[in-house]
């Protein structure tokens, strides 16, 4: 996606978004709250058995434990009826955002490169982490500064990003890295890497740049009362670009 161009749509009504709900999704409401805060209207909550979606600007695959994540995180959801539709829409250029379990599902579905393995520490880990914003020329991140350090929580057991050396090179060369784990000052240290991800990768784009997956939860720090708002610019970016 190096130097990808994101044609903005002509004048249109405010961002139309859908949040996919699988049995076991549990951050569907949380992300719907953040979307509503910027768009002023409720997102469509799409059920996993639905096989088609109306005309949309954004599809969010939320966090949680889809189908209990019993086989492997995201593996079963990747084969659900709704995911066929999400793939078709992504191919048409509709923006897709996968958060946490959503990221796992999108990698399992082949919409994003890499896999998310068990955390290096072998434990579920819920805490605030710092991230650097790799690029701000995308519809997801325009409201951030390039290399800005933001604070966003993680909450996962399987967030250890892995890819083959070839694939990793391509991801790096094509500028597909969206966010990396860093310390408060923005240094990409091993100590700041909460799960052992290769190259401290916390989120990646697809080649076309219209699909983003990330382990951290921007929707969890998008309200001053909850202790931070660094997640909010992502939703504001989408709102501005897609309205």
């Amino acid at each position: 996606m190096k130097g990808a161009v994101f044609p903005l749509k002509p004048e249109a009504p405010p961002l139309k978004a859908a949040v996919i709900v699988f049995p076991g999704s549990n951050c569907d409401r949380d992300v719907a709250v953040s979307l509503k805060a910027v768009t002023g209207k409720s997102a469509l909550m799409a059920w996993h058995r639905d096989s088609s979606l109306p005309k949309l600007d954004l599809i969010v695959v939320p966090g949680g434990f889809s189908y209990g994540d019993y086989l492997r995180s995201g593996a079963m959801a990747a084969h659900s009826p709704i995911l066929r539709e999400v793939k078709a829409r992504a191919d048409q250029g509709v923006r897709v955002l996968g958060i946490c379990n959503g990221f796992q599902i999108l990698t399992e579905a082949g919409l994003l490169p890499g896999v998310l393995m068990r955390n290096r520490g072998l434990k579920f880990c819920c805490k605030d982490v710092h991230l650097t914003v790799s690029r701000n020329d995308t519809v997801f991140t325009a409201k951030y500064r390039k290399s800005q350090v933001i604070r966003v929580p993680i909450a996962h057991a399987d967030g250890n990003f892995f890819a083959s050396p070839d694939m990793l090179n391509r991801i790096e060369d094509e500028g597909q890295v969206a966010f990396r784990y860093c310390d408060e000052e923005g240094n990409l240290t091993d100590a700041a890497n909460p799960n052992g991800s290769l190259n401290n990768i916390a989120g990646v784009y697809n080649m076309a740049g219209n699909v983003l997956g990330l382990m951290p939860h921007p929707e969890r720090l998008a309200d001053p009362l909850l202790g931070g708002t660094d997640g909010m610019p992502m939703f504001e970016s989408l709102m501005e670009a897609l309205s």
């Binding site: 076991g24 409401r29 009362l225 909850l226």
Partner: protein
């Protein structure tokens, strides 16, 4: 059908007298299925037969109480059309035998108690007690329990927002896992368990029934010995994914008007749920056990009735509306089966393969269960010790050591394994005095805490019982909440021993006195007895879970020092009480002395004063003073804020180590601007409240006279103990 011999009766945990009562009620010898039903219904766990007499003495009413003990959970009115529903429950015995599943299903069970009443669960808490760190099983148990709680709570998507965890050799053979769930419901949409309407259908939903957990309630009502590990098959297996679906399906169903009554299947499974529903409604039930969804073949009536398979509910639906309910459960891919019908017989009639396999009167079983006035003796009280009998250690040196002890160290290693932010309303995260959860879509919040100090209860159960309630009240006050109500989880040893029964009786008296004085009624609870192994009992541990209301979250404060140059004040009197303190135990090796007395009128006065300061925005941070004493509180505030302080010397009339580490009650540390501090001190004086200026915030260390300790060093002492302990060699 097997013969009911005295051995069979004994193996079902029924005494000879109890069996005599069974014969009287039945008018004949019971068959094995019927005996099994008696056995679980009359187990200590289900019948509260040893504690009922004393539980009745606790205050349970207040204008804001909608439903007190007796239902699945307590219900209080929190205004604006909302009710808060909450309860705490133990899963001690199973968690010792199989820590992951024991703890996980403890969380699942308490969640169901809350959502069965119509509340969406919004927060989980847990109170954990483990054995001595050097006991070979401890590390394995901590690891299993914490991952079990996380594994379940994280998947169902309810945040685990806090709790407590400490260690003592008295828990070597009996750990305590007490889980609490708090939920929110519309005040006019609360669901109860009393069945109604002869002819209405009894419906089973959720997971299928298997052979797991048979006799779990009976197992949880007996002491342990060397063979307890053999009881592993009595531990249930949890499926949080199914629980999540069950929550969503029930919430969807509860938004319709088809439910007459609903009850989760907890301890003693289908038996206790069906008996409770029928008994509360004064009706009978006829059930065809062939229709119960089963995941194993060839299950007998006995097994079906006694299974404690998880994630199941029993409901009575309005006539002709079962299709509405079925459609919802089909959508969520959960089992739905009509298993019975309500009758006016007052009897439970069970059929299997077309034949009646049990026919029991309901009320005598459910309501006339044995109630004992067990003999008790007044507990031996620990003698007071003087401060100068406890060796003095330089305060900052002692502080560093105490912060690195099992009970005072940071519990971050635990709560980072819990998703404490899902649902997007966690305002006050774990590690503070009380967790704060926003009421979704509003600017109000719930404050939630769990507290008890078992070493105080051991030294003096009455004062310890008072203190547990007072500390919970204080923790809610520390975040600016109005304390509203309590759920109690009474963990004790074998009640058939008069000295243990004495602990139970006096602790309940102490709790009751505090609840009355603080307007803090008990609305739900659970009792766990027989926490003994080879005759050694746990410390008396009446855990208190409590909920308070914050009217405006903007006014809520945390415990972190906020700004440079602010005055640090202590509200409440410091006499230097070192009896039963952590300082005495950890630094002088002295587990002795009377616990600090709790003066409930002072508690109330000080707390109301502090709450007023918080709500009116006059203080910038607040933290109560509890285990470890004043210097621990100050250090925790400094570490949380990354901001140090310069502290004044201890007053001349109190020995220095007793001043900084004594555990006198009813105290809070607050910070305020220098100008505000003067006003606060004079107002306190006018009200007869002890208050003192003890320092000023600033810098990156704690400075006390000529010595100092850097926050980096303190934080490393505080943060390192638990991860280092847990990464030690696996001993099991």
């Amino acid at each position: 059908m097997s013969q009911i011999t005295p051995d069979v009766v004994k193996s079902h945990g029924l005494s000879a007298d109890e069996y005599k009562l069974v014969l009287e009620i039945m008018g004949r010898a019971p068959n094995l299925t019927e005996l099994g039903i008696f056995s679980v219904m009359w187990s200590e766990h289900c019948s509260y037969k040893s504690s009922k007499k004393w539980l009745k003495t606790l205050p349970t009413t207040a204008p804001w109480v909608i439903c007190g003990p007796g239902e699945n959970a307590g219900v209080i009115d929190i205004g604006e059309g909302l009710a808060c529903i909450f309860k705490m429950e133990s899963h001690n015995h199973p968690s010792f035998i199989e820590p992951y599943q024991g703890a996980a299903t403890g969380v699942g069970g308490i969640l169901r108690d809350v959502f069965t009443m119509g509340a969406r669960p919004v927060a989980n808490m847990n109170a954990l007690r483990f054995g001595a760190p050097d006991h070979p099983k401890t590390r394995h148990l901590v690891s299993g329990v914490v991952s079990g709680i996380g594994g379940y709570g994280n998947c169902v998507g309810v945040p685990t927002v806090g709790g407590e965890c400490d260690f003592h050799a008295a828990y070597n053979g009996n750990i305590l896992v007490n889980a609490m769930t708090v939920g929110l419901a519309a005040k006019d949409r609360i669901f109860y368990s009393a069945a109604a309407g002869v002819g209405n259908l009894v419906v089973y939903v959720g997971s299928k029934t298997g052979r797991d957990g048979i006799h779990g309630a009976t197992m949880a009502s007996a002491e342990f010995n060397e063979d307890s590990e053999e009881k592993r098959p009595t531990v249930q297996v949890g499926d949080p994914f199914t629980e999540k679906l069950l929550i969503e399906a029930c919430m969807e169903l509860m938004a319709t008007d088809v439910i007459v009554a609903i009850q989760d299947m907890g301890a003693a499974g289908l038996t206790s749920s069906s008996f409770e529903m029928a008994s509360k409604g004064g009706l009978g039930i006829e059930m065809d056990l062939d229709r119960v969804p089963m995941r194993e073949q060839g299950m007998t009536a006995y097994e079906i009735m006694l299974s404690e398979s998880q994630e199941r509910m029993l409901m009575v639906l309005k006539p002709g509306r079962e299709e509405v309910a079925k459609a919802i459960f089909d959508k969520w891919e959960l089992d739905f089966a009509v298993v019975g019908v309500l009758t006016d017989s007052g009897r439970m009639v069970l059929k299997r393969h077309g034949a009646v396999v049990a026919d029991l009167p309901i009320d005598p079983l459910a309501q006339a269960s044995p109630e004992y006035d067990r003999p008790w003796v007044a507990p031996k009280l620990a003698a007071p010790i003087a401060a100068d009998a406890v060796k003095a250690v330089a305060p900052l040196e002692a502080l560093k050591k105490l912060l690195n002890t099992p009970d005072l160290c940071s519990k971050r290693w635990i709560w980072e394994q819990y998703d404490h932010m899902v649902m997007g309303d966690t305002v006050g995260r774990p590690g503070g005095d009380a967790a704060v959860v926003r009421i979704h879509g509003s600017n109000r919040g719930l404050a939630i805490t769990t507290d008890v100090t078992p070493r105080y209860c051991q030294a003096n159960p009455f004062e310890g019982g008072k203190q547990a309630v007072a500390e919970a009240w204080r923790n809610l006050t520390s975040v600016g909440a109005r304390p509203l109500a309590v759920t109690d989880n009474l963990n004790f040893g074998n009640p058939e021993k008069p000295e243990i029964m004495g602990q139970i009786v006096t602790a309940i008296k102490g709790m009751g006195e505090a609840c009355v004085a603080l307007d803090f009624p008990v609305v739900s609870g659970n009792v766990s007895l027989y926490n003994e192994t080879n005759g050694n009992a746990i410390l008396p541990t009446p855990a208190i879970g409590a909920v308070g209301l914050i009217d405006d979250l903007e006014s809520c404060v945390g415990m972190a020092f906020e700004a440079d140059g602010e005055a640090v004040l202590v509200i409440g009197a410091t006499t230097g009480h070192l009896g039963a303190s952590l300082y005495a135990r950890e630094l002088a090796g002295l587990e002795a002395g009377a616990p600090p007395p709790v003066d409930l009128s002072v508690e109330r006065k000080n707390g109301d004063f502090v709450r007023g300061l918080i709500v009116s925005g006059r203080v910038t941070a607040c933290h109560d003073v509890s285990g470890g004493g004043l210097l621990i509180s100050v250090a925790e505030m400094a570490m949380a804020g990354g901001l140090g302080a310069t502290l004044a010397d201890a007053p001349k009339d109190v020995p220095e180590h007793a001043y900084w580490f004594g555990e006198d009650q009813a105290r809070y540390v607050v910070t305020a601007s220098a100008g505000e501090a003067g006003t606060i001190l004079s107002e306190a004086a006018a009200l007869g409240i002890k208050a003192a200026l003890i320092g000023t915030t600033g810098g990156d260390k704690l400075i006390l006279g000529a010595s100092s300790a850097s926050l980096t060093d303190l934080a490393s002492a505080h943060e390192s103990w638990l991860p280092e302990f847990m990464s030690g060699p696996d001993s099991n």
